[in-house]
Amino acid sequence: MMDAHRQNRLRALTTPVILIAILLAFVLIITATGDKSLARMAAQTLIRVTFVVGLWIFVGNSGVVSFGHAGFMAIGAYCSAWLTLRPQMKGMFLPDLPPWLASAEWPHLPATVVSGLLAALVALIVGAAILRLSGIAASIATFAFLAIVDTVYSNWEGVTGATSSVVGLDRYADEWVTLIWASVAVLAAAIYANSASGLALRATREDEVAAAASGVNMYRHRLLSLVISGFFTGVSGVLLGHSLGVLNPNSFYLGITFITLAMLVVGGIGSLSGAVIGVLVLSVLIEGLVRFERGIDIGGASFALPSGAQEILIGIIMILVLIIRPTGLTGGRELRLPAFGLRVRNSKQEPQSTN
């Protein structure tokens, strides 16, 4: 006989299973249409899922808004370019790379993992300083970090190609590769959130002082979550590079920071399900509006939105969601399997955690 607490823990682990099933269904539906551009959109969406889930590991559990994660993304993306580009290409476009890096020609998987680890290492170093701050000061410091990364990568001509793009990355990140990474990220996020560290961190999110009084070392848990978070955002950068084939520092600055934070908030910052659902909903919406902008036929008449309308509508929809549901679409709840039969007895003492 399981006690209520045990079963609650077990049910919490059904969340990633459901989310991964949703992602899988998403890819299956898209591939069933056989549309090439839809498949590309699916890969982009899953890259954003990886990023936003990575972002959620830190932001969702700690409650500190980070503007800096696009910086980890850039670090991962460029690292993979250094490791996997053909040496002749690097000699031409990135002449200042150290010789061992210039001659490196790694297979995809180790390059992805190492790039993620580099982003995690940077997260460890930066976090060690920034996470001593709390609240809004920490958010500003992450902003400063993003600006530093952007300035360095936009100007370090011989190593990052500066503002002229790095081209020629192998475009292997299709919808299936990105699905695997997105699933790994979802699984890791769920495991972390339900670990002792994740629970302690969420306690600090609810009440810093009370958590500290209960002996929670906020700094250590925040740092751990930032490192894990840095790894997955770094990996999402790798995937983005290998999906577009082109890297430019501009793609890792305010635009992506904004849209991913918006996805997180619209979905519901308090739960992992919110992170995934936010990305899916907004991505599908954006794709729909983009197509609408190009014009569609309804009953013989062709309708088209004026160009630029898509962004404006997305912004307005986001504001409306925030006004109507300030806690996001999921309201901080997780998707879970319904309770099993033997739980009914305990239903009274089940304070359903809303995270």
């Binding site: 410091a141 600006a147 300035t151 986001m318």
Partner: protein, 304 residues
């Protein structure tokens, strides 16, 4: 040509712009704990209000044709208007939401304004000449200084002192200071929340319009993205100045202007493109040393 006074004027002029933008952000943060990311877009909006809507590369003046005596008050009013409107349509609906949701919605609002400008004016930066005579250099204590720099410095001082008077001497000012100190308590004591918040937004929008006029005259370019960069710096200035502290925001604005001008002059040539990286590193260091801000008031410290 004398290097030190030159440096001083450069620093004071750049710092003045930052200080004014930071004031606009700090005013709103003080009364409603909102980090208003749309502030940069208010600036861009005011810039584009000067020219005729079209996507051509050469800008045709619209409001900008008006004589200065008319143009300045109209543009200030326009800035106030867009700020107050956005408060009414968006932020008033979110008054009880948590600060993160408000911050994201201001981000979204900025996104809407920016894309509306893009849709109307196109994405190419436009050449625009507003009061070109102001860029003629004149000679002050051995430095050649564009007249505009002097005007910026004087305007900043003027704006800051007028604002200080307004806050110190008028009823609305008193209410604003009370609200910035402790909003709930102030309301309990009879401060009219809507008046204060609308007032803060109006002032903040007017400040954005002032920044817009200065930037256009100085750079001669209208670009949809021009608000973003200055908003970032201003935002950082409000934080390292001590959130909610108006004198802190002004001081930190000047400080950041000074530091970036000094870095520009002092860094070796190879490192100069990385100036902003050094600047932001200093920002992080300053936050680590004084997380509550350099000029924070005693009440800014969170109480348990």
């Amino acid at each position: 040509m004398n290097a030190v006074p030159q440096l001083f004027f450069d620093a004071a002029a750049l710092g003045g712009i930052y200080a004014m933008a930071a004031l606009g952000i700090a005013l709103i943060f003080g009364v409603m704990n909102l980090v208003n990311f749309a502030h940069g877009e208010y600036i861009a909006f005011c810039v584009f209000a000067l020219i005729v809507p079209s996507s051509d590369a050469v800008a045709v003046m619209f409001l900008g044709k008006a004589p200065a005596i008319l143009l300045i008050p109209v543009l200030l009013a326009l800035g106030a208007l867009i700020a107050v409107t956005s408060e009414y349509l968006v932020f008033r609906q979110l008054r009880n939401a948590n600060p993160v949701a408000m911050m994201i919605s201001s981000f979204a609002l900025g996104f809407v304004i920016q894309n509306a400008l893009l849709a109307v004016y196109g994405s190419r930066p436009k050449a625009i000449s507003l009061w070109p005579d102001l860029n003629t250099p004149i000679s002050v204590v051995g430095a050649s200084v564009p007249l505009l720099q002097l005007i910026v410095i004087i305007t900043t001082l003027l704006v800051v002192s007028v604002l200080a008077l307004l806050l110190k001497k008028t009823r609305v000012g008193l209410e604003m200071r009370a609200a910035a100190e402790n909003f709930t308590m102030a309301r309990l004591l009879g401060v009219r929340a809507n008046v204060v918040i609308t007032g803060a937004f109006a002032l903040s929008g007017a400040m954005a319009a002032a920044v817009a006029m200065i930037m256009v005259t100085q750079t001669g370019v209208a670009d949809v993205r021009m608000g973003g960069q200055i908003m970032l710096v201003a935002f950082i200035a409000t934080v390292i100045g001590g959130l909610g502290s108006l004198p802190g925001a002004v001081a930190a604005g000047f400080l950041i202007g000074a530091v970036s001008v000094v870095l520009q002059a002092a860094l070796p040539l190879d490192a100069r493109p990385f100036r902003d990286a050094f600047l932001y590193t200093l920002v992080i260091v300053s936050l680590l040393l004084r997380p509550q801000g350099l000029f924070a008031s005693a009440s800014a410290k969170p109480r348990v």
